[in-house]
């Protein structure tokens, strides 16, 4: 059995009367791609926010590589080796794509020599190499606000990968990406993440993407995990189909 990288136990968090996490227990195994699916408001993003320090659970614990990280500040969690991307790509629009990547490298390398340039040779080279792996070399010098959605998503995730995480949490990596680009974006992602041996947890609404790329899928429903297992089995479950996928297909239509 492969070892547990991240372990969540009994996570609870309510916003007013809404239970965004109502006893979440989940182990993320080292090296796997775990998809999180479920209707809007089921608490998928809340789980990512709790794991990355943006929200503190009201009860329960999260441990990473065996050590507790519950309630730690986001940047301390980043330093442990957990990175995230947001549903809306959070690129620095004042910077070029290359500078964005170099900023992530700089953040990882800190502390800084403050007056040295951002694009010093070693970082420039590493940033170029990173963008190459993501197939973004052609737009390295474009400003981040000039990109199409697929490129923005990839650049955003490239920045997270630049932090050299062992665990990457992605909130809807394909949302907003044109259908024609979607599979290509995910293929690139999967290739880079597997090569870098990054464990990935991603929220996804497209069941084709889930079926093709996830090792396991967790179904979120009203703050709970309703089902967990290999995609073929989980997605075939009639209840999951009715409760979750039906809603997804309906929402997508």
């Amino acid at each position: 059995m492969s070892d547990v990288l991240l372990s969540a136990r009994g996570l609870r968090l309510a916003f007013g009367g809404v239970k965004a996490a109502d006893g979440i227990d989940l182990n993320v195994m080292r090296g796997e791609f775990l998809a999180i699916i479920g209707p809007n408001g089921a608490g998928k993003t809340t789980f990512i926010n709790m794991t990355t320090g943006y929200l503190r659970p009201q009860a329960g614990t999260i441990s990473y590589e065996g050590a507790p990280i519950t309630g730690m500040a986001p940047r301390r969690i980043v330093a442990r080796g957990i990175a995230r991307s947001f549903q809306l790509p959070q690129l620095f629009t004042e910077h070029t794509v290359l500078e964005n990547a170099a900023l992530a490298i700089a953040a990882r390398e800190g502390p800084w020599s403050p007056l040295k340039p951002l694009l010093r040779p070693a970082w420039r080279e590493e940033a170029r190499d990173l963008l190459e792996r993501f197939g973004l070399s052609a737009i390295a010098d474009a400003r981040a606000d000039a990109l199409n959605e697929g490129a923005r998503k990839l650049a955003d995730i490239a920045m997270a990968v630049a932090l050299k995480p062992r665990l990457l949490l992605m909130d809807e990596p394909t949302s907003g990406v044109a259908a024609s680009e979607k599979m290509q974006v995910v293929e690139t992602l999967a290739r880079v993440l597997r090569a870098a041996q990054v464990t990935a947890v991603f929220v996804e609404h497209d069941m084709d993407v889930v079926e093709r790329f996830a090792d396991r899928v967790a179904v979120w429903s009203q703050g709970k995990i309703a089902a967990l297992g290999p995609p073929a089995a989980v997605l075939a479950d009639p209840e999951v189909q009715r409760e979750v996928i039906g809603i997804e297909r309906h929402a997508a239509a």
Binding site: P74, A83, E94, E99, P117, L118, L163
Partner: protein, 311 residues
């Protein structure tokens, strides 16, 4: 027209030189205010107090040290040291103890808090320096006068106001633009300004960037004050006058503009100075008339885009 120039040419020349020196000081204060607002999103009314305290500290420190045998040539360095002390001590104190508690609050509350701080610091100045004018023009006397050729004649003008003030302002402008656009720390400041959450997600310590930026802005305000101190006798209220004029520059230029703030400071400094010489009754009004006229036509300021970069 020719006749008018014959009669008033030298006066106009003097007004332009005065305006240039004045614009340099206004720019130093306005650009710091603008930087702090762009990054922290707090309009710091107490920025003017840092200017005033910088001025008083520079004058007093100079008087104190020269009474103890400080050579005259060091009086210029004293101005810079005073500014670094004031900005470097008060800046972090204000940011850590006060501003950091109100970042998430409504802008109205932020304004009230920094206005309260301004009132407290105004009274603190009166407690420390009294209400009698404080003057120390050693730095200006040190450099003497320079005859500026103008329209076939010469205008004697202090070399300090002619070279030091504009020189420091230009150095600040170029240095700041280079710092923000070329250095790592500058790029990180811009990144935190664009998206604090994303910067935090990369492991950047945004609160340290806030502290650094505010301290930097505080040093710029104190430097503006310190550099102004040799040119005028200091009286209570100097901070209020400066902050209001800086607001006018920032609003006219557009928030977040560095070069724009420089051009606007020049425009407002020169027109105010021309008013002083030719229409003294309009002196106070001129900068605000310019501001109102610009904002009526371009609400986002002369150089600001509707919603654009903030530093």
């Amino acid at each position: 027209m020719y006749g008018w120039f014959e009669e008033n040419g030298l006066l106009l020349g003097l007004a332009l030189l005065d305006g240039l020196a004045y614009a340099a000081l206004v720019f130093m204060v306005a650009v710091g205010l603008n930087l702090v607002f762009g990054v922290l999103r707090v309009l710091n009314v107490a920025h003017g107090s840092l200017y005033a305290i910088g001025a008083y500290t520079a004058a007093s420190l100079g008087l104190f040290l020269s009474a103890r045998g400080l050579p005259e040539w060091a009086s210029l360095a004293v101005l810079v040291v005073a500014a670094a002390l004031v900005g470097g001590i008060l800046g972090p104190l204000i940011e850590r103890l006060l501003l950091r508690r109100i970042y998430a609050q409504e802008p109205v509350l932020q304004l009230l808090v920094t206005f309260a701080l301004f009132m407290i610091l105004e009274d603190a100045q009166k407690l420390i320096w009294g209400t009698q004018p404080v003057q120390n023009d050693a730095a200006m006397r040190l450099l003497g006068n320079f005859d500026v050729p103008f329209a076939g004649d010469f205008i004697p003008f202090t070399a300090y106001q002619l070279f030091v003030l504009p020189g420091v302002a230009v150095a600040t402008l170029v240095g700041l633009a280079w710092f923000l656009r070329r250095t790592l720390t500058g790029r990180v400041i811009v990144a935190v300004t664009t998206d604090r959450e994303a910067a935090t997600a990369m492991g950047i310590d945004a609160s340290r960037i806030y502290l650094l930026t505010f301290t930097f802005g505080a040093v710029l305000a104190a430097l503006g004050g310190a550099l102004s101190s040799p040119t005028a006798s200091l009286v209570p209220g100097v901070g209020a006058q400066t902050i209001v004029l800086s607001f006018a520059v920032v609003a006219t230029a557009g928030l977040g503009q560095i070069e724009g703030a420089a051009l606007t400071a020049l425009m407002i400094g020169l027109s105010r100075s021309i008013a002083v010489y030719f229409m003294p009754e309009a002196e106070v009004l001129t900068p605000y008339l310019i501001m109102v006229a610009v904002l009526l036509i371009r609400p986002q300021g002369l150089f600001g885009a509707a919603e654009t970069r903030r530093v």
